[in-house]
């Protein structure tokens, strides 16, 4: 967890960090696909469920062709609702979504034929065989029966030897693969993976990431939701953060890391200090409670990190250290910061709900 101190410093040091998506410039293109226009365009999407719960609030998001976009957010943030709205499972209460220029409501046949969806829950026809269920999906999406293609898909997911097994006999990880095979059975251009690695062991998770990468390499655009930051960090090209039904930010992963990334240098001192010597005092440097460690937080995107000066000053002051190590802040810390900022804002706007 980040401390209030970290958040405070992060905000002060990086006033340029966008906390919300900038409004998208109006584009002259409308329906034709080209490299400049996004493959999926979500505009001011709203969803309020019958019970009055507002799951999506004015969500706007562009998804580029060929990328892996990770939607990151805590449970109940609206990730699944967003995906479900794009795929046609829930009806939006406001806003529009276009896929390759086609409206998801008016031209639902065209948009849905382009999309494959792997749901979060392992929902399968338990008594069907793997081969039959994948063939069924292919037919359902309007494609001609093609056993060779189904065979290829099953082989690529290491399911071929299970093709005649009933789904009920498979392990959880295998079932997840069956769902992916079903989603891929109609050769979609876009694949939505809703929490693909929830409840999947480490080994299988790595396999799954490889599957996702291979798919991207074959030209499929992938949108996955996750609450494992590690996952987004590992495979995404861009990261979108959702909390309380709003998109807080969408950024290139590496840019995000660079922008928000900070490193800490920890110096284990040979002799504990009672207090910080005046000569060392500077922004970002702290003495641990025991006095045995100096912690220096610095930004990696500046040209000067201040490390040389710090070490020089330490040596001048005669402070010796026995060990040092540095730590890069992870996407997780960034994520926690963003979500905290957002809830602080929400609470400020609705003081009644703040308790």
């Amino acid at each position: 967890m980040l401390t209030a101190y970290d958040i405070y410093h992060l905000q002060n040091k990086h006033p340029h960090i966008p906390t919300r998506c900038a409004p998208r410039p109006k584009s002259g293109f409308n329906s034709m696909l080209d490299s400049a226009s996004p493959l999926i365009q979500v505009k001011n999407l709203e969803k309020t469920y019958d019970g009055g719960f507002q799951a999506l609030k004015d969500v706007s998001l562009d998804i580029k062709k060929g990328e892996i976009l990770a939607l990151l957010g805590p449970n109940g943030a609206g990730k699944t609702t967003l995906i479900s709205a794009i795929c046609g499972i829930v009806t939006p209460t406001g806003g529009t979504v276009t896929v390759a220029g086609y409206d998801i409501i008016k031209d639902y046949r065209k948009t849905r034929a382009m999309i494959g969806l792997v749901p979060q829950e392992l929902t399968t026809d338990a008594f069907e065989t793997v081969f039959a269920t994948v063939s069924f999906s292919r037919g359902l999406f309007g494609k001609k029966r093609d056993d060779t293609f189904v065979e290829k898909t099953l082989k690529s997911l290491s399911l071929w030897d299970k093709k005649d097994n009933k789904i009920i006999q498979l392990s959880g990880g295998m079932k997840r693969r069956v769902l992916i095979a079903k989603a891929l059975s109609h050769e979609p251009d876009i694949l939505f993976l809703d929490e693909p690695t929830a409840g999947v062991d480490v080994e299988l998770r790595k396999d799954m990431w490889q599957v996702v990468r291979d798919l991207r390499d074959s030209g499929v655009t992938i949108i996955l939701t996750t609450h494992y930051i590690e996952e987004a960090e590992e495979i995404a090209d861009r990261v979108g953060v959702i909390a309380h039904g709003e998109i807080i930010l969408v950024e290139d992963k590496t840019e995000l890391m660079a922008k928000l990334g900070k490193k800490t240098l920890m110096l284990d001192l040979q002799q504990p200090l009672k207090e910080m010597p005046d000569a060392l005092k500077r922004d970002g440097l702290e003495l641990s409670e025991s006095g045995a460690q100096l912690v220096y937080t610095y930004s990696t995107n500046g040209e000067r990190t201040g490390i040389t000066a710090l070490l020089q000053n330490l040596s001048d002051a005669g402070i010796r250290f026995k060990d040092l190590n540095t730590k890069q802040s992870s996407l997780e810390e960034i994520f926690v910061t963003l979500v905290h900022e957002d809830s602080a804002k929400t609470n400020a706007n609705n003081p009644a709900q703040a308790q």
């Binding site: 499972i89 849905r112 039959a132 359902l140």
Partner: protein, 253 residues
């Protein structure tokens, strides 16, 4: 029109029939045979002819209707309830298919199954009693219209139901009594006058009566009225299904 999807749903549903052969075919045939043995042979032999038709033959159209109604209903209801129950309905909702195509697939398969069953029961009946079919085309029309209408009704029940109990309640508590009280096993004329009037409010009476007319030209009500009633029933079911998909009732939020 996404024919491939309709075919996929249809084939998928039909394959369930083969997988559950016992439940789908053998058990209704067995129970109908029991009816023939008990009502047709054991008790029926002591009942005089009804309007010139032996009792065993008289109950055949009613028994076929009984199976047709209950099987259409439960096949269609189960067919759409199961994806809702397991969650696989996500695939139907996210597929490039219209509601009409979904209904066509599910209701088509359910109606086909009950028609196959009806034919099997008819064949079984011919082993026990003398059968004559005076108007085969009208008979077929009744079979097909009834199978489609009650499969639609079953589809509606399957959408409405949110538990297995609800799925069972309509066939058990509504359809079975209506069929038994709808003249499947007797002619309405055999009832006291007041009950004859009450029976006229039972829609199943019109189905059984019209269907029986196509066999023996013996009917409680005019065959034209029978056809009109089933047509009204069919249109009502179609309207409800249309409303379900328009509002997303119990399917889509």
């Amino acid at each position: 029109m996404n024919f491939s999807a309709v075919r996929a749903i249809y084939a998928f549903e039909m394959s369930r029939m083969w997988r559950t052969l016992f439940q789908s075919i053998i058990s209704p045939v067995l129970s109908t045979s029991l009816y023939f043995v008990v009502f047709g042979s054991a008790i029926g032999s002591r009942i005089p002819e009804i309007e010139g038709v032996s009792y065993g033959s008289f109950i055949v159209p009613g028994l076929i209707m009984l199976s047709l109604l209950t099987q259409s209903l439960s096949n269609a209801a189960f067919g759409i309830y199961f994806p809702k129950f397991t969650g696989t309905i996500y695939e139907l909702l996210s597929a490039p298919i219209s509601s009409f195509e979904i209904v066509l697939g599910y209701v088509g398969a359910a109606a086909t199954k009950s028609l196959v069953l009806g034919a099997i029961i008819l064949a079984t009946a011919s082993l026990f009693v003398d059968l004559q079919i005076a108007h085969p085309i009208i008979m077929l029309l009744f079979l097909v219209l009834t199978a489609i209408t009650f499969s639609l009704l079953g589809f509606i029940i399957g959408i409405w139901a949110d538990s297995f109990e609800k799925l069972q309640i309509v066939p058990l508590l509504v359809i079975t009594p209506l069929v038994f009280l709808g003249g499947s096993f007797y002619s309405v004329n055999m009832l006291p006058p007041i009950w004859q009037t009450v029976t006229l409010f039972n829609p199943v009476l019109y189905l059984v009566s019209g269907f029986r007319w196509s066999f023996y030209e013996v009917a409680d009500v005019n065959v034209g009225i029978s056809l009109a009633v089933i047509a009204v029933f069919l249109v009502s079911c179609i309207s409800i299904v249309w409303w379900i998909f328009k509002t997303g009732y119990q399917v889509k939020q």
